[in-house]
């Protein structure tokens, strides 16, 4: 087959910039221009922060409920249990994110070994 500009083998960096970088950086540049006009004491700022927070919680929940790849090997009950265990470690560790993350990772490895398929 003749190689063209749109073959991964012949122009990977061109494709990465055109179809990976530009579509994603666009939102960031746009938001930088908007942010330039927003005051961090304004009500609009508080509203956007609440939207971003809810959005992030939604993304976390979606990752847990509908995972992809190898995480599918851990049953839903195992994924949710590992999160509950992690939150407990976070609370016991005086609101330490690292405590929650490390204990949660250990929990998902053990639960996947025990109940994974």
């Amino acid at each position: 087959m003749n190689s063209t500009w749109f073959d991964i083998g012949s122009s990977p960096y061109f494709l990465l910039v055109l179809f990976g970088f530009l579509p994603t950086i666009g939102w960031k540049v746009l938001s930088a221009f908007v942010a330039h006009a927003v005051d961090d004491q304004s009500e609009f700022f508080k509203l956007v922060r609440a939207i971003a927070t809810a959005l992030l919680a939604g993304i976390a929940a979606k990752f847990l409920l509908a995972p992809s790849g190898a995480l599918l090997n851990a049953p839903l009950a195992a994924r949710l249990s590992a999160i509950v265990i992690a939150v407990a470690a976070y609370a016991i560790g005086k609101r330490s994110v690292m405590a929650g993350v490390i204990v949660g990772e250990i929990a998902i490895v053990i639960l996947t070994m025990l109940f994974g398929h």
């Binding site: 749109f6 991964i8 083998g9 960096y13 990465l16 910039v17 179809f19 990976g20 970088f21 530009l22 579509p23 994603t24 950086i25 939102w27 960031k28 540049v29 938001s31 930088a32 221009f33 908007v34 942010a35 330039h36 005051d39 961090d40 009500e43 700022f45 508080k46 509203l47 609440a50 939207i51 971003a52 927070t53 809810a54 959005l55 992030l56 919680a57 939604g58 993304i59 976390a60 929940a61 979606k62 995972p67 992809s68 190898a70 995480l71 090997n73 851990a74 590992a82 992690a86 976070y90 994110v97 929650g100 993350v101 949660g104 990772e105 998902i108 490895v109 053990i110 996947t112 070994m113």
Partner: protein, 260 residues
């Protein structure tokens, strides 16, 4: 320079006299004490995806720097490997990055000073990602305003640098990781998000936003679906949380006025 070993938001009294580069370094070191490893861990698997799809090692590393978002990178490499139309790949990558819009608007106004130029803001927005966002939202407000951006750039560059190394390692690593370990790599993102969101929640509106985001997701996935469920959750949950926070604030103000 004992100031380097800082954890979280404790800053020494000599803070005010440190140089901008000193603050850049403080951000860099704080990231390496934890958060940078979280991003690096979750981007390890992206290297493997890049290799499977036929991209060279350099492109895998460049994607971490240029795209700087795990989900968009995964979409790009998986879809490219499956010979999806390039227009569809660009559209999906773009859709998954819409979340950067409210996130950036909710952070940059805290970081900038009155003199900050627009191109500095654009440069800062490049480094925006979930980990950098949540950690900066908590770590920068206690700092003097002039040093927030240097701190942010140091913090973000440490995250990006370590993640680029881990993408390269993921590319060269064995292709078949044991299943529990592969699951643990993918579990890192939701695990970190849940913990970090709780850590960041102070006001009532924060807690309501986190709670609604989690609870609304199964409902939105069922009845909205597609790529739009997250947008509905964000706007619906966020606006509700904001209104509840506002009502409770004004009640508190009325009660205060009664007492006085």
């Amino acid at each position: 320079m004992k100031a380097i070993g800082l954890v979280d938001t404790d800053y020494p009294p000599e803070a005010a006299i440190r140089t901008r580069f000193g603050w850049w370094r403080t951000g860099f070191v704080q990231a390496l004490q934890g958060p940078a490893w979280v991003v690096a861990f979750s981007l390890f698997g992206i290297g493997g995806l890049a290799r499977t799809s036929g991209f060279p090692l350099g492109a895998a590393a460049a994607a971490t720097v240029l795209i700087w978002a795990g989900p968009a990178q995964a979409i790009f490499f998986v879809a490219a490997g499956a010979k999806t139309a390039w227009s569809v790949i660009a559209l999906s990558a773009s859709l998954s990055s819409i979340r950067m819009f409210p996130m950036t608007i909710a952070l940059l106004p805290i970081l900038r000073t009155k003199k900050t130029r627009i191109w500095t803001m654009v440069a800062a927005s490049w480094f925006m990602g979930i980990t950098v966002w949540t950690e900066s939202l908590r770590r920068t407000p206690p700092l003097p305003r002039e040093v927030r951006l240097p701190f942010f750039f140091g913090f973000a560059m440490a995250c990006m640098g370590l993640s680029t190394i881990s993408t390269v390692l993921g590319y060269t690593a064995v292709s078949n990781l044991p299943v529990p370990l592969a699951a643990a790599l993918l579990f890192m993102s939701p695990l970190y998000f849940v913990n970090a969101l709780m850590r960041n929640a102070h006001r009532l509106s924060d807690w309501v936003a986190v709670g609604l985001g989690l609870v609304l997701t199964p409902i939105a996935m069922r009845y909205v679906g597609g790529g739009f469920d997250i947008a509905v959750i964000g706007i619906g949950g966020g606006c509700t949380a904001y209104l509840i926070g506002r009502i409770s604030d004004s009640r508190a103000r009325v009660t205060e006025a009664d007492v006085v």
